[in-house]
Symmetry: C2
Subunit: 128 residues, 2 copies
DNA sequence: TGAGTTACTATTAAATTTAATAGTAACTTG
DNA sequence: CAAGTTACTATTAAATTTAATAGTAACTCA
C-alpha cells in the first residue's frame, strides 16, 4: 500500500486507517500478536515465514510509531525485546476479524478450493 | 498493496479481503460509488482528482473481476459506460465505514489538525 | 576456542504500483 | 470544418515496496 509522506496527501480517515493496518505485513503482524499476546522479535519472525529482517524491523517500527504495537526492551545478553499490541492495536482486531469473515464467506461462495485457511486469523475454513 | 498473482500466495481470507478493497484507489472508488450510486467513467474520474486513466481503467477492471463493481455498456456515440456497486460491493461499505470511524476517532485523539476530512466518506471531522 | 543466539542495520536489487503522456473512433457542437 | 467528448489502451518512466544478503556486539554453550 502506498503510504504518503505528507499527511496532506491523505484525503480521509479511511485511507489513513488503511495505511495503519492494511498492506501485506501489518495485518499479519497484528494477527500474530493478537493470537499470541506478547512475542519477542525472533518469535514473530518464526511465525511469519518468508518475511526478512529488513521488512520485519521496518514494519514493526511503523506500527510502533502509529501506536499500534508496543516495544519493551530488556537489557540482557543476548538481547531481548518484546512486542505486543497496544490498546489501539487491540481495537483493530475486531475490524480485521470482520474483514476475515466477509472475505471467507464470499470466497467459499465462489470457489471450491480451500486455500484460504490460516492459523493466524480466527478463520478455519468452516465459518458460518 | 501487493497483490499476488497466485492465490496460493495468499495465506488467509484477511489478506485476500484486503487485496479486494484495500489499497490506494479501490477504497476510494467504492466510496464514490457508494455515495453516488451509478456513475459513468468520466464522472468517476472527475470525483477522484489526481487519478490517471491508466490507473482508473485498470482498477475498475480488477473491481469488476472481483465482482465488486458492475459495468454496463450502452452502444451510443460518444460511448457511455456506467458503473455501480454489486451486492458484494455494497456489503463492503459498512466495513469501510467502520474503518473510517475507527481511524477518525484515533486521529482526533492524537492530533490537532483537521486534515482528515473527506466528502467521499461519511466522515465530516466531527464524528462522535 | 568456535559456533550459535539475538535484534537488529545497511546495502543492493528485483518486483510492483503509480504517474505521465499520447493516441483512438465516431460522433456533436460552434 | 475544427475542436470537443467519451471510454478507454499502450507505452514509458518514476516512485515505492519487497526481497536477498551480509554484518554487528556480547554473551553462552559445547
Amino acid at each position: 500500500m502506498y503510504k504518503p509522506k505528507l499527511e496532506k496527501e491523505i484525503r480521509c480517515p479511511l485511507e489513513y486507517g488503511l495505511t495503519l493496518f492494511g498492506g501485506k505485513w501489518k495485518s499479519r503482524i497484528i494477527c500474530v500478536l493478537a493470537e499470541k499476546g506478547t512475542l519477542r522479535y525472533s518469535s514473530i519472525r518464526k511465525e511469519m515465514a518468508n518475511i526478512t529482517d529488513a521488512v520485519l524491523a521496518a514494519t514493526l517500527k511503523e506500527l510502533i510509531m502509529d501506536d499500534i504495537v508496543k516495544r519493551q526492551q530488556f537489557d540482557e545478553i543476548p538481547p531481548r525485546v518484546e512486542y505486543c499490541l497496544t490498546e489501539k492495536g487491540l481495537s483493530v482486531v475486531p475490524i480485521l476479524q470482520t474483514i476475515c469473515k466477509w472475505s471467507g464467506a464470499y470466497h467459499k461462495e465462489n470457489s471450491e478450493n480451500t486455500l484460504l485457511q490460516c492459523q493466524k486469523c480466527d478463520y478455519n475454513g468452516s465459518m458460518e
